[in-house]
């Protein structure tokens, strides 16, 4: 495998909310242009890892660099798709407005979005197959549509690196295919994607790299090298026997979380 630029490097990262460490001494190396999955049980610290890399949580220790520089200097290179359930979808606004929020960072203080921002937002909505819904109230979206809106919002950030927190969570099959197509396109354009993922079965099919996380980093690297039964057992505590005899996939360890609260799909 050829040496690529490091898009993200994390060394000795430790994070604690109160006394108990949530992440302990995590090292991670993400080459440019790859799709990386972060997997691990609930409460493993996956969301915390992403937030700590993006400077949203102050780590207790560790170094983080984006293309060799601290995150603060590279903020413009990074796009973010938070967990869908992290916002109130009953907020009085429409799809276009939410997507344009992805441009707020470029706009800076006080300046309002205008024509250019609207054009970019519509373009991004086109890419995620939501162009028809630009005027739709966000409260009327299905779970899959909400996820696409968040993806479009990240796309207008025009980033090099994307962090996505459970982009496949509770979406329908069509949306899942649309998202994975989009991820492959991003990867082909040499963008790097780090996504929290829950469905172990699809990891080898969707991703190039994987990080197995449970407070500590159990393993991190190319899927074919580190996505082994032994590592999965170490990550999930050996609760379930999951790798099939053929060794070409894993059963889901946790039942995929359903989001009944978010209406029809």
């Amino acid at each position: 495998m050829e040496e690529k630029h490091a898009a993200i490097e994390v060394a000795d990262l430790t994070v604690a909310y109160q006394e108990k460490p949530v992440l302990w001494d995590v090292d991670m190396y993400v080459p440019e242009g790859i799709l990386m999955a972060i997997v691990g049980p609930n409460g493993a610290g996956k969301t915390t890892l992403i937030k700590a890399i993006m400077g949203l949580i102050q780590p207790a220790a560790g170094q983080i660099s984006i293309y060799g520089k601290p995150f603060r200097e590279q903020r413009g290179l990074v796009g973010y798709v938070p967990q869908r359930g992290s916002v109130d979808w009953d907020f009085p606004t429409n799809v276009l407005d939410v997507v344009m929020m992805g441009r707020y960072g470029r706009l800076g203080w006080i300046r309002r979005p205008g024509r250019e921002e609207e054009r970019l937002a519509l373009e991004a909505l086109e890419k995620v197959g939501m162009a028809r819904y630009s005027e739709r109230q966000i409260s009327q979206l299905s779970g899959g549509q909400q996820q696409r809106v968040f993806l479009a919002r990240a796309l207008v950030q025009e980033a090099q690196i994307y962090f996505m927190d459970e982009p496949f969570q509770g979406v329908d099959a069509t949306t899942e295919r649309a998202i994975i197509t989009l991820l492959k396109e991003l990867s082909a354009a040499n963008k790097t994607v780090v996504a929290v993922h829950h469905d172990l079965q699809t990891v080898p099919e969707y991703f190039d790299y994987v990080t197995l996380l449970n407070v500590r980093c159990i393993a991190s690297g190319p899927v074919e090298q580190v996505f082994s039964e032994e590592n999965l057992r170490a990550t999930y505590g050996g609760r379930v026997a999951f790798l099939t005899a053929a060794g070409n996939g894993a059963e889901q360890v946790e039942p995929a979380a359903t989001t009944a609260g978010h209406g029809a799909i």
Partner: protein, 376 residues
């Protein structure tokens, strides 16, 4: 008659005009900024801030002996702001949760304010400064210079809201994403909180510290019922706030002897009640009608689908079947006869004799479509 004389007074009576103007200003400001508080689920924050303002008012009087409301309101502003800082600090540095911190700060500041108020009664000028009116509000006591002070403070709050509209929206909808974009969200939060404190302080003299939070929450909650756009919600909340303020202040000032705060709150409650029941889409009445219509539609479609099942099982698709059979298929759900009547009116079924029904060709096609939809 009374309305007419009231209108005349409004135009020509100096006191009433001042009162109405002041009430309008306070309604506009608290309504607009209250919208953000409601959307951020911080309704109680307004309550804590307004109660916490009381000691600020009294201390400002003790220190300056001033009767100028602007001076007293600045005291309120400082106290309200300190209370917010204290709450944030409690939540951040202790294990006390947000709601408990709110209750704690509210009661400590308000209790302290009441003690000071009792003490200050002994000072000769206290009554003239109208300190007591800050409890339940006395719009009739508003002077032109008071209204001017309210207008200056209120405009400052509205200008801040206009300038930082985009940042406030980001903070209210997705603060974590905002932080990832590089906005210092804590600073944005402080800015929005400051404008909210200003909005509350503006209304204290007229509405009083006890009920001021209603003017923050109620107009915004009512406005939310009518619209799905933030900008329109803010405009409507301002309108509702002004309406409630003016009507309430006029009722209380026109010799009824009622305290202004409670009167305004009664008016705004009426607006909220109407909005909760009658607003399209979100209103209870509307939702009830929609649910009823849906249930009826589902019932009609189900009976049609049953007839279709029977028809496909029979060699003659237009063969008539007994209503009893359909009733059995719809086990336990009444209204089959009524539903069949509805279907007949639409020309989808045909009554063969007293008890037997058959699909019409239109009905067959419609049933085919529905069954196909269901299987999708």
């Amino acid at each position: 008659m009374e309305l007419w004389s009231l209108l005349q007074d409004l135009l020509f009576d100096y006191t009433l005009r001042t009162v109405a103007l002041g009430a309008a200003v306070l309604g506009i400001v608290s309504g607009s900024l209250g919208s953000f508080a409601v959307l951020r689920r911080q309704s109680l924050l307004g309550d804590a801030m307004s109660h916490a303002a009381l000691p600020g008012i009294v201390i400002a009087f003790i220190l300056t002996r001033s009767k100028f409301s602007l001076v007293l309101l600045l005291g309120a502003l400082v106290a309200g702001w300190l209370a917010t800082l204290l709450m944030t600090a409690i939540v951040r540095y202790t294990r006390v949760k947000q709601d408990s911190a709110l209750g704690l700060v509210l009661s400590i500041f308000f209790g302290f304010g009441l003690v000071l108020l009792t003490y200050v009664q002994r000072i000769p000028d206290a009554n003239q400064a109208g300190l007591n009116s800050y409890l339940f509000g006395q719009a009739a006591a508003l002077l032109q210079r008071d209204v001017l002070a309210m207008a200056v403070l209120g405009s400052a709050a509205l200008v801040l809201m206009g300038l930082f509209w985009k940042e406030f929206k980001l903070l209210s909808f997705d603060p974590v994403f905002g932080a990832s974009l590089g906005f210092p969200m804590r600073l944005v939060d402080t800015l929005l909180t400051t404008t909210l404190v200003i909005a509350i302080v503006v209304g204290l003299q007229a509405v009083g510290v006890v009920l001021m939070s209603a003017m923050v929450v109620a107009p915004a909650a009512a406005a939310r019922q009518w619209t799905d756009r933030l900008s329109i919600m803010v405009l409507l909340a301002a309108l509702f706030g002004a309406l409630a303020g003016v009507i309430g202040a006029l009722i209380s000032s026109s010799g009824s002897g009622l305290a202004t705060g409670p009167t305004i709150v009664l008016v705004v409650s009426a607006i909220v009640t109407i909005s909760i029941f009658l607003a399209p889409n979100r209103g209870l009445l509307w939702r009830w009608i929609v649910r009823r219509r849906n249930r009826r539609r589902l019932r009609v479609e189900a009976v049609l689908a049953d007839l279709y099942t029977l028809a496909t099982q029979h060699e003659n698709r237009y063969h008539a079947h007994d209503a009893v059979v359909i009733r059995t298929m719809r086990a336990g759900q009444g209204g089959v006869a009524h539903t069949l009547d509805i279907l007949q009116e639409r020309g989808l079924v045909r009554k063969e004799d007293e008890s037997r029904w058959a699909l019409t060709p239109d009905g067959f096609r419609e049933a085919q479509r529905i069954t196909a939809d269901m299987q999708e």
